[in-house]
């Protein structure tokens, strides 16, 4: 079986460009809006505990 340390060492690392994007205020503002919208959509889909009633 493959050594886990070797597979971790082969895992892709973020590029310099990706690292810069993760800290860019403009890009991150749009990501903030996008992630929030995605979370709201997911919550609206699954947060209805009283909709299906059983005896």
């Amino acid at each position: 079986m493959e050594n886990p340390n070797e597979s971790i060492a082969r895992a892709p690392l973020p590029t310099e460009k990706t690292l810069r994007q993760r800290k860019n205020l403009v890009i991150q503002f749009f990501r903030f809006c996008s992630i929030n919208l995605k979370m709201i959509k997911m919550i609206r889909k699954g947060h209805h505990p009283m909709e299906r009633k059983v005896k």
């Binding site: 903030f32 505990p49 009633k53």
Partner: protein, 196 residues
């Protein structure tokens, strides 16, 4: 943990699974992995023999793991259990409170709601550094928490609603959630609009 009825008879086996967690309305028949279904998971979180007893969050006994049981090279059993804290426990707790309210108002025949982990999603924001300009956090969502291979054949999950990414935006979300949950805990105006 031990439990006794009003006559002093031990009822631990009726209330608890061998793991010590409370049995609820789940399928505990011990089916093999190939037969696992999303519908095996509890919906009302009531003990079948004592329906006035609820167990939510980490208190209830999961019917089985959420992915195929495997073994490490050293033989250690890897049995992943679903996350039962945070958002899912908040939803279950809310369900139990509303159900108890219904039971008090309408008696044992009252209708109670359901909140299966196979139909609920969860979001998690894991902090990886603070600071409004240099902070970082991993934001992730998963829907549904328990995979449903009937509704989503390949992955068991909705890929539109299951994602993750790391960045400064995650830190802003974490900070916003911090203030939102304190606001909700204080039951300020409109608190009920803030999700669990």
């Amino acid at each position: 943990m031990q439990a006794f009825d009003k006559n002093g008879q031990e009822i631990s086996e009726k209330l608890f699974a061998p793991s010590g967690f409370m049995k609820v309305d789940a399928d505990y028949s011990g089916k093999p992995y190939e037969e696992w279904l999303a519908s095996d998971w509890p919906k009302t979180y009531r003990n079948p023999l004592y329906p006035n007893v609820f167990a939510v969050g980490i208190a209830f006994a999961p019917p089985h793991q959420i992915s195929k049981p495997r073994k490490s090279p050293k033989g250690t059993l890897i049995a992943p259990s679903p996350p039962r804290t945070g958002m899912p426990s908040g939803i279950m707790g809310k369900l139990a409170v509303i159900s108890i309210n219904e039971l008090i108002k309408n008696g044992p025949s009252a209708q109670v709601g359901t909140a299966s982990m196979a139909t609920m999603g969860a979001a998690c924001v894991a902090s990886a550094g603070s600071g409004l300009r240099v902070g970082s956090a991993a934001s992730m969502t998963m829907y549904p928490v328990v995979p449903d291979y009937v509704a989503y054949p390949n992955t068991g999950r909705s890929l539109d609603d299951t994602f993750g990414e790391i960045g400064l935006a995650g830190h802003w979300i974490k900070l916003a959630l911090h203030y939102m949950f304190i606001y909700k805990a204080k039951a300020r105006f409109g608190w009920f609009l803030i999700p669990e």
